[in-house]
């Protein structure tokens, strides 16, 4: 309930005019997520403030009554990501009473993040598969060697915004492209009501792009009737996808489908990798390997005027590194019939992630890279997440 409405309702029932005794909460304010120790500050005014007392209550539990100003108390509300109800009751000597309430919100990960909050999307697994029953206390966050306090913890179906970034260059002609489009469609089938996605089809140029939409039909339309043609500019379009996600709130994901040979981009992968570090987007790369069975470490060789063989190999390695740094992964696909599972598997993985947030103890925005280690106390459980972040303003 909104505090103002609550106050009005109470005052309407009060025997004394409101101007005789007024009370309000200076802190916390109603739209701010709070956790840990919070200063609860109350002010009173009106003709009957002389000798007035203030009772403090949080979440239905009375903290006590103060008999003189300043009406301020520090209270530990805990670190759970929950909303809290702060109630202040002022009482005048003559029995006159005024009350006000502030409801602080739960932090929603699909809302605008507070500037300093760092969020990590974590996939946990053990030898049996995905681990889905971890609690907040099972996790540890260490930034640059310093333990951090986890302030937000979510599990499961956190809404997500994704970009399906599909290579439609000539090398994808025929069955590869058809299989990729079908896989992408299955990915869209896995979207929840609050999810949104954008389809971007590229070759050496951006061929087609939908708007962000929650409508699967709209998104599927964007996949229909495209043919393979032209060259390949992965770097440019990955940058474009990251930029499209910049203004989006909450969890963001790029699913890149490509055979991995950038030929025509104007941006180098090292430039895009810098952008990846600034972004919180997870990148999943479905890598269609043209020579099945080769080690994933074996880099494709390709020559072009823009990138000779050596540069082409370097670009490939940097792309893979950027994907892993983002907290996503490279899904190698050797056979086209594996593509459906690859797309669906990524969506499933996203549905089974943990989301952890913390305010870094080092709040300096100096552009430096902060190495972050996420650990799980439970033995045998491995986690995969972004490896850190760049502390840009």
């Amino acid at each position: 309930m909104r505090p103002a409405l609550l106050l009005c309702a109470l005052l309407a029932a009060a025997p004394v005019a409101a101007e005789d005794l007024q009370v309000w909460i200076d802190h916390p304010v109603g739209d701010e997520f709070v956790h840990g120790v919070v200063s609860f500050v109350v002010a009173v005014s009106g003709e009957q403030t002389e000798g007035a007392t203030v009772e403090f209550a949080v979440d239905g539990r009375s903290l006590g009554t103060m008999i003189r100003p300043p009406f301020k108390v520090d209270v530990d509300v805990g670190n759970d990501n929950v909303s809290h109800e702060f109630v202040a009751i002022a009482r005048a000597r003559g029995g006159l009473e005024a009350r006000t309430t502030v409801l602080t919100p739960k932090l929603m990960v699909d809302e605008a993040l507070q500037l300093n909050l760092q969020q990590f999307y974590i996939t946990a697994s053990n030898s049996s598969g995905r681990v889905l029953d971890l609690e907040r206390d099972d996790f540890r966050v260490v930034e640059e060697g310093k333990e951090q306090q986890i302030v937000t913890f979510e599990r499961g179906d956190v809404p997500l915004t994704s970009v399906l970034l599909l290579d439609c260059s000539l090398s994808m002609t025929g069955e590869p492209l058809e299989a990729a489009l079908e896989g992408a469609s299955l990915f869209l089938d896995g979207m929840n009501e609050l999810d949104e996605a954008m389809v971007m089809l590229y070759s050496d140029s951006l061929l087609r792009a939908s708007d962000f939409s929650a409508s699967r039909d709209t998104l599927r339309d964007a996949l229909a009737g495209v043919g393979a043609s032209g060259g390949t500019a992965i770097n440019d379009h990955l940058y474009l996808a990251l930029k499209k996600l910049d203004p989006r709130q909450g969890r963001s994901v790029i699913v890149l489908f490509s055979d991995g040979s950038d030929v025509h981009s104007v941006l180098s992968m090292s430039e895009v990798a810098e952008k990846v570090r600034r972004s919180q987007a997870l990148i999943y790369w479905i890598y269609l390997r043209l020579r099945p069975g080769e080690s994933v470490d074996k880099v494709p060789t390709y020559m072009a005027t823009w990138r000779n063989m050596e540069a082409s190999q370097s670009e490939f390695r940097l792309l893979r590194k950027a994907v892993e740094e983002s907290g996503g992964r490279v899904q190698v696909v050797d056979h086209l019939e594996e593509l459906d599972d690859a797309f669906v598997g990524i969506m499933t993985e996203l549905r089974e992630q943990y989301v952890i947030g913390y305010y870094p103890s080092n709040s300096a925005k100096d552009g430096s890279w902060r190495d972050v280690k996420l650990r799980v106390k439970r033995s045998g459980v491995k986690v995969r997440a972004r490896e850190g972040y760049a502390a840009y303003p």
């Binding site: 951006l206 495209v226 020559m303 005027t305």
Partner: protein, 387 residues
């Protein structure tokens, strides 16, 4: 340069040597008839003369058909090297006989006929026959140029060989193409198409110094060749010659008109300035490019990226919002640059055909020993192979 691309192969040298011998009368030493039991030499030579006769009468397409029919019959699908060599020698014997009765200019129509057959064999995906046609035309053109030493003959040979090099100028066959183009330049060092094509082949192999040398030669011949200057600047930037690259690009910015070239000029200028540590100037150039070509995705993306690096994410957002899909079938500037360059070879081929038409009477004169009814005339007293 030779270490990077296949040069003249040994068999090519052998043929050069052999053609010279043939044309000075030493072909008789080629070997006894018994060594060619399975090849009907009379039939081969008569058919070849008939094909040339059709050409001399102006029936080019029929001549091509006749030539290809006899070659396919004589060589089969998978001919041995020895068989190819024998067919080659007996065709040369016919040409030699014609040369004895006419001028070397009759070689022009013969060369162009084989040149055209090469195209048809390639289209028919007959690589061995195509190679045979290419060798025949190349060897005759080279012989003509080396015999006369005239600039016109060298230029003609250069165009013929460049035409073959151009046909193979793509990623997979760039090595072969480079070898052919280098042959063209050996004969005709100022051939612009060969210089540009060979420079491109070096560029895709990352051999930027070689590419620079060729492009500078080309620009000495055609200072206004914008594509050559652009490639020169790009290669220089990669070699770290940033100030020189910047100067070439600035010059191009003031004169180039083709949109794809202007797009690359803006991109490369910005990238050069970044490499020089002049990020602010790079942003200005990218902005100028974006203002001139707002629909150019590459410039827009580069501009957004530089703006973001300059601490202007909102500007980058605004630019990115303007990036719209171009649809299929619209190549980007960088794609055009990367693709095999247009050597304007159609014009060259038209010139070759015009030269051929002008010399058909010379060819007819050389074939006058042929009585036209399928049998050699009085001049052909020897049997095939010049024996």
């Amino acid at each position: 340069m030779d270490r990077k691309y296949p040069g003249k192969t040994r068999d090519r040298y052998c043929r050069q040597w052999a053609i010279s011998l043939a044309l000075v009368g030493a072909l008789a030493a080629a070997g006894p008839v018994s060594a060619e039991r399975r090849l009907d030499i009379d039939r081969l030579e008569k058919s070849y003369v008939a094909a040339l006769d059709l050409l001399a009468q102006g029936q080019r397409e029929q001549a091509l058909d006749a030539l290809m029919a006899l070659e396919i019959e004589a060589l089969g699908k998978v001919p041995t090297a020895g068989r190819i060599d024998r067919v080659w020698r007996h065709k040369l014997a016919v040409v030699k006989r014609a040369l004895e009765l006419s001028s070397p200019e009759l070689l022009v129509p013969v060369i162009v006929l084989h040149h055209d057959a090469y195209e048809l064999y390639r289209e028919a995906q007959q690589p061995v026959l195509a190679r045979h046609a290419r060798d025949m035309a190349t060897d005759l053109a080279t012989y003509k140029a080396q015999s006369s030493k005239s600039p016109e003959d060298k230029q003609f040979a250069g165009w013929v060989i460049t035409s073959f090099g151009e046909a193979l100028l793509d990623l997979r066959t760039s090595g072969t193409s480079a070898g052919i183009l280098r042959d063209a330049l050996d004969i005709s060092p100022r051939n612009p198409a060969a210089l540009l094509g060979l420079a491109w082949a070096h560029e895709i192999h990352g051999e930027y110094e070689d590419a620079v040398a060729l492009l500078e030669r080309l620009l000495e011949i055609q200072a206004g060749h914008d594509q050559a200057r652009l490639r020169l600047a790009v290669c220089k930037r990669r070699l770290g010659e940033l100030e020189s690259a910047h100067a070439e690009l600035t010059r191009l910015l003031n004169r180039a008109t083709q949109p794809w070239i202007r797009s690359i000029v803006y991109q490369e200028l910005a990238r050069t300035l970044i490499s020089l540590g002049r990020l602010e100037a790079a942003e200005v150039i990218a902005r100028d490019g974006f203002e001139e070509m707002p629909g150019d995705q590459e410039i827009a993306i580069l501009f957004a990226s530089i703006s973001e690096r300059r601490g202007k994410p909102a500007k980058a957002d605004a630019v990115v919002k303007l990036v719209k899909p171009v649809g299929e079938g619209v190549p980007s500037a960088r794609y055009i640059y990367d693709d095999r360059p247009d050597l304007e070879i159609d014009e060259v081929r038209s010139t070759l055909h015009a030269m051929m038409e002008e010399r058909l009477d010379v060819l007819a004169s050389g074939l006058r020993w042929w009585n036209g009814d399928g049998a050699p005339g009085e001049g052909a007293t020897e049997e095939g192979g010049g024996r």
